[in-house]
């Protein structure tokens, strides 16, 4: 059974499709990149899988069951810029938030949870910053705290939204190391990514997305000049709209 499987998902915003008829089956234990131009719907795709944006149509399953039944085995790293880093809290606290789902309602994190959160911080080389106010961390350190939080979720499938954006070289290395570790434990990781230069180095599989799925498969087969042209070239979007009966000039 596939870790992630989607069937014809469409998400629309003000009647305009943001992603359209995207179907794919993600294989287990792979690092999977999702690439495409700005506005291609990359973040929207993972948000729709996680139920964060409403779908116009389509089905999603995580290991054969709906997402709502599989929350405990799914980890999520939102874009770093999506939260307010001036929030009054420290790094360890943010990592502990990853465990709130497992801890459940009406209960507080205990010593064991805190110990585990510290270990997650250590895995990204941030244990020395556990009590540091989050606003005093650099961008790269903040990103590593987010990754440690995802580790604390102890999931089987991870979704990461642009983890490499705006990070220093040390953090980039730490993220790659972490992805490799996750893969060696049989976890599946889907990463929204926009740096085409590094796709071949980082990812086993890749999805090329521009509102529609252009291609999906092992990187060496799919990450071709031809497919990139289809994804990034302006012409295709134009023809596509015409074939839908929408005149872009109207």
């Amino acid at each position: 059974m596939n870790p992630v499987s989607t069937n014809n998902i469409t998400v629309a915003y003000h009647r305009k499709p943001v992603i359209q008829n995207v179907s794919f089956e993600a294989p287990e234990g792979k690092l999977i990149g999702i690439v495409g131009p700005n506005g291609a719907g990359k973040s929207t795709l993972i948000k729709s899988i996680l139920g964060l944006v409403p779908k116009a149509s389509g089905n999603i399953s995580i290991y054969g069951k709906p997402y709502k039944k599989q929350r405990q085995i799914v980890g999520y790293v939102p874009q770093r810029g999506s939260v307010d880093w001036d929030f009054p809290t420290n790094a360890l606290d943010v990592v502990l938030m990853g465990k709130y789902g497992q801890i459940g309602l009406f209960r507080r994190p205990n010593k064991k949870d805190k110990q585990e959160a510290l270990e997650c911080l250590a895995q990204v080389g941030m244990e020395a910053f556990a009590n540091r106010q989050i606003s005093q961390l650099s961008g790269g350190q903040q990103q590593r705290v987010f990754l440690a939080r995802a580790l604390a979720q102890n999931a089987s499938v991870y979704f990461m939204d642009e983890p490499f954006v705006g990070v220093d070289a040390a953090t980039e290395k730490a993220i790659i190391q972490l992805l490799t570790d996750l893969k060696s434990k049989g976890k599946t990781v889907l990463v929204v990514h926009h740096d085409l230069q590094t796709v071949k180095d980082y990812f086993d599989w890749v999805m090329l997305l521009n509102i529609r799925k252009i291609a999906f498969g092992p990187t060496e087969d799919v990450f071709t000049q031809d497919n990139l042209q289809k994804t990034y070239g302006g012409r295709l979007a134009f023809l596509d709209q015409e074939s839908n009966g929408v005149n872009p000039l109207a």
């Binding site: 929350r71 799914v74 939102p78 999506s82 307010d84 929030f87 009054p88 420290n90 709130y100 309602l105």
Partner: protein, 296 residues
């Protein structure tokens, strides 16, 4: 208890209850929703009065809570339909409040509901309306009401502490983990509404807004831990209430107005002199670092 003590106690209870919801609202960047709700509860009160033909406390509470939540719902609806968030708040706030004002002046002129009172409050009259309950005699009705609301706020804060925390910091992860983000939003709106209604009869809408926004905003400048932010904010709110009372007595002026002024004064102090965020402290620190650079 003396007359003075009752007034100070009432204002202190109000200030703590307000500061609890205030911390959450300020962190969610929704502080101005409290301004809307603290006014639109007037519509809830007068509607409850028109339906039940009495000023029964429970009906008033329910009416106000419904009006407050509807305010939040309408703001949300306008906002998601493309109206700017601040404009949405302004439209819903003034529209519902104005309807409340019209209904009061048409149907409820002779009862204990009036517009000036709802904005300014009248703390000085509080000790004279007492209710005996649970075998305790001579306690002002306002103290009972606000105590109940304060207890409700504290219980809900403790029960949902980590859920409120995560959904304020990172609503996306909260939703992905299955934390009921929407429920928490409207729970907070409900808490804001009952706090506003219990407070505003005593102290008026302006002090409610001041107590909801200023002490949490002050505490935000003084600490970097959420737990401490709640504590500092409550302390600052109570200090504002007490000092405001005595300044009002000295100057012989409106008590609630003076208390609201004090919340602004404490904010200004923190804004200038907070060890971490203070404008003046930062200037001084920069000067020192410049000197040491010169020496090096």
């Amino acid at each position: 208890m003396t007359y003075t003590m009752w007034i100070i106690l009432t204002a202190s209870l109000v200030s703590v209850a307000c500061s609890i919801v205030g911390v959450l609202l300020v962190l969610r960047k929704m502080a101005m929703i409290s301004d809307a709700i603290s006014h639109t509860v007037l519509l809830g009160l007068v509607s409850a009065f028109l339906i039940t033909q009495s000023l029964d406390g429970l009906a008033m509470f329910i009416g106000a809570a419904i009006a407050g939540i509807l305010t939040a719902v309408f703001i949300q609806l306008l906002n998601s339909a493309g109206v700017q968030a601040d404009a949405a708040i302004g439209i819903v706030f003034t529209f519902l409040f104005a309807i409340g004002v019209i209904l009061v002046s048409m149907f409820a002129r002779d009862v204990h509901l009036d517009v000036e009172h709802s904005i300014m409050g009248e703390l000085a009259f509080i000790p004279w309306t007492t209710v005996d309950w649970l075998g305790i005699e001579g306690v002002p009705q306002a103290v009972w009401m606000i105590s109940i609301v304060l207890v409700i706020n504290i219980i809900l804060l403790f029960v949902f502490y980590k859920e409120f925390k995560l959904s304020s910091f990172d609503p996306h992860l909260a939703a992905a983990l299955g934390i009921p983000v929407v429920f928490l939003h409207y729970l907070l709106m409900g808490m804001t509404s009952i706090t506003a209604v219990a407070s505003f009869d005593a102290v008026g809408a302006i002090l409610v807004v001041a107590m909801i926004i200023a002490p949490p905003a002050t505490a935000y400048l003084l600490t970097e831990q959420l737990g401490k932010m709640f504590v500092y904010s409550a302390i600052i709110a109570v200090l504002s209430a007490i000092s405001g009372y005595y300044f009002a007595a000295i100057l012989d002026t409106n008590i609630a107005g003076m208390m609201a002024t004090m919340t602004g004064f404490f904010f200004l102090l923190a804004f200038l002199f907070s060890p971490t965020h203070g404008v003046v402290i930062k200037k001084i620190r920069n000067r020192f670092t410049t000197y040491s650079n010169d020496e090096a």
